[in-house]
């Protein structure tokens, strides 16, 4: 693959990551958010695949396929099933901050990400490291979703968004984290989602709602 095409594809995958991150913040319906999250998984896998093709490394290709299965297949499926179990009344997120302000906050977060990642980029400027701000923006947006959403399921999406961002930064900085490390991280994430899903279902059963704001007081 020649350099021009490589840079174009890399930038395109990063653009898709950024766009899906913003869309998670933008949309209210949980079903749509889960689909957008799956699209972000595809973008992340595509990013790793582009890196793999550039470096000619079979290990990275395996990681890309694994990421595609986990982040665009298994995790969205688990989330969708948790959503279906929650019932029709809980289809929409209820953000603490309204959508227009949270989008403007995301703009500030993006600028912050660009500001803080400049020293990192300066260490070894290359097309891959120049895209680090995109990964950090996704991490920050994920954290923002995590702290401003009330429903357990949307907080879970925020957590996964953060993880997507961390993975992106990892691959962009080192080009390969190593198969074992990536496998360990992926299994960790899968386990966390499974545990959180069961926890959400239990909260739902005990309190009739997964709104974490209402869990401040102790009940009998």
């Amino acid at each position: 693959m020649n350099d021009g095409v490589y840079v174009q594809l890399l930038d395109l995958a990063c653009g898709a990551l950024l766009l899906t991150g913003v869309l998670v913040l933008w949309r209210r319906e949980l079903a749509v958010i889960i689909r957008v999250f799956a699209a972000q998984g595809v973008a992340l896998a595509a990013l790793v695949a582009v890196l793999a093709a550039h470096e000619n490394s079979p290990e990275l290709w395996i990681v890309a396929v694994g990421l595609l299965i986990l982040r665009a297949g298994v995790l969205p499926l688990l989330l969708a099933r948790a959503l279906a179990a929650a019932g029709p009344a809980r289809r929409e997120t209820r953000p603490l901050v309204n959508v227009a302000s949270s989008l403007l906050a995301a703009a500030v977060l993006a600028l912050l990400a660009y500001a803080v990642s400049r020293p990192l980029v300066a260490l070894s400027p290359s097309p891959a490291t120049q895209a680090i701000p995109v990964g950090i923006t996704v991490v920050l947006i994920g954290f923002f979703v995590l702290v401003t959403r009330r429903r357990a399921l949307s907080q879970l999406v925020g957590f996964l968004l953060m993880d997507n961002g961390i993975t992106t930064v990892g691959f962009l900085t080192t080009s390969s984290v190593g198969l074992i490390v990536e496998l360990g991280v992926s299994l960790d994430v899968l386990l966390a989602v499974l545990v959180l899903r069961i926890l959400t279902a239990r909260i739902q059963e005990s309190f009739g709602d997964a709104d974490l704001d209402e869990l401040r007081e102790l009940h009998d």
């Binding site: 653009g15 950024l18 913003v22 959508v99 227009a100 989008l103």
Partner: protein, 315 residues
């Protein structure tokens, strides 16, 4: 000022004035077809305009000059943009006016004039429409500026003609994330600015949902015809800008009859296709609640800002 620019400056306004009502007719026809209606035909907007121009000019009692001048300002600013922006030729008749900031300011001036006219009538609907339009334009203008600015960063010039010719020289640029983010942002603001669904419904006169129609409610006769023609021209101008900023192929770069013909046909095909897609999309969309519109526009502003950021950091 070059010969090509002068020819473009004459050709473009003629083309846009004569074909923008036809574009409106085509869009209504597409919509009617998809909804299973027969439709009034693509020449209906021109027939409406002819009828309105033939009527006697009347203005409501108590209105001032602001009300009478607004349609002229609206159509005048749009016509200037039609002359200078790169639609058929890459050269501009007045090079310095084809600047991004000048073009956006001219288009905003027309909107503000119309909003003032809406206030001038002192009716409830006029004021309501003007207030809504100001809410929308306060978010649309920065997005428009920032989205086109993202494209101008790599070119190093805010001249629209320069942006178009540089995209023509380097076609790979159109699939970069900068272009994609800016394109999405620009599509949203074009839809909002021209008063189409889901921001405003152009075919309704239902009081609670109107934005643009509420402002022009008191106009009649030739004044109304001017406002309608200007609205159609604005739609064409915005779609033409959208088409040529992202897909400039076909635009005339040299002064030969063949190149000019290709430029004219390319513009008509691109704008026509965009209009048809817009009209087809509208069939499947419901109007957004007014309080959700700022959300949509804030989102598109964010995308435009990310496009600018990406043009600095990913390049």
């Amino acid at each position: 000022m070059s010969a090509l620019g002068v020819v473009g400056g004459v050709l473009q306004p003629v083309l846009i004035v004569s074909f923008s009502p036809v574009l409106l007719g085509v869009m209504r026809q597409v919509r009617a077809h998809l909804e299973g209606r027969a439709g009034a035909g693509i020449a209906q907007p021109w027939r409406d305009l002819r009828k309105l121009f033939g009527k006697e000019a009347i203005t409501p009692r108590g209105t001032t000059e602001v009300f009478r001048i607004a349609p002229l300002v609206l159509i005048g600013t749009t016509a200037v943009v039609a002359v200078v922006a790169p639609f058929v030729t890459t050269d501009s008749a007045l090079g310095s006016v084809a600047d991004l900031f000048a073009v956006v300011a001219l288009l905003a001036l027309g909107t503000v004039a119309l909003a003032l006219a809406g206030l001038d009538t002192a009716t409830a609907f006029g004021g309501m429409g003007a207030s809504r339009e100001m809410t929308i334009i306060a978010l649309v203008e920065p997005t428009l500026l920032v989205a086109i600015f993202a494209l101008s960063v790599r070119v190093g010039s805010t001249n629209l003609a320069d942006i178009v010719s540089s995209t023509l020289r380097d076609p790979a640029r159109t699939i970069s994330p900068v272009s994609l983010l800016a394109a999405v942002a620009l599509v949203v603001v074009v839809v909002a600015e021209t008063g189409r669904l889901p921001v405003d419904n152009p075919s309704t006169h239902l009081e609670l949902t109107m934005v643009h129609e509420a402002m022009v409610l008191e106009y009649a006769g030739p004044d109304l015809a001017l406002v309608e023609l200007a609205s159609a021209m604005r739609l064409t101008v915005f779609l033409g800008l959208l088409a040529n900023l992202f897909l400039p192929w076909g635009i005339a770069t040299e002064l030969t009859p063949g190149a000019l013909l290709v430029g004219v046909v390319a513009l008509m095909v691109k704008v026509g296709l965009l209009g048809m897609v817009l009209a087809a999309g509208e069939v499947f969309m419901a109007k957004l609640r007014l309080f959700r519109v700022p959300e949509l526009l804030a989102g598109s502003f964010l995308l435009a800002l990310l496009a600018v950021a990406a043009s600095f950091f990913l390049a």
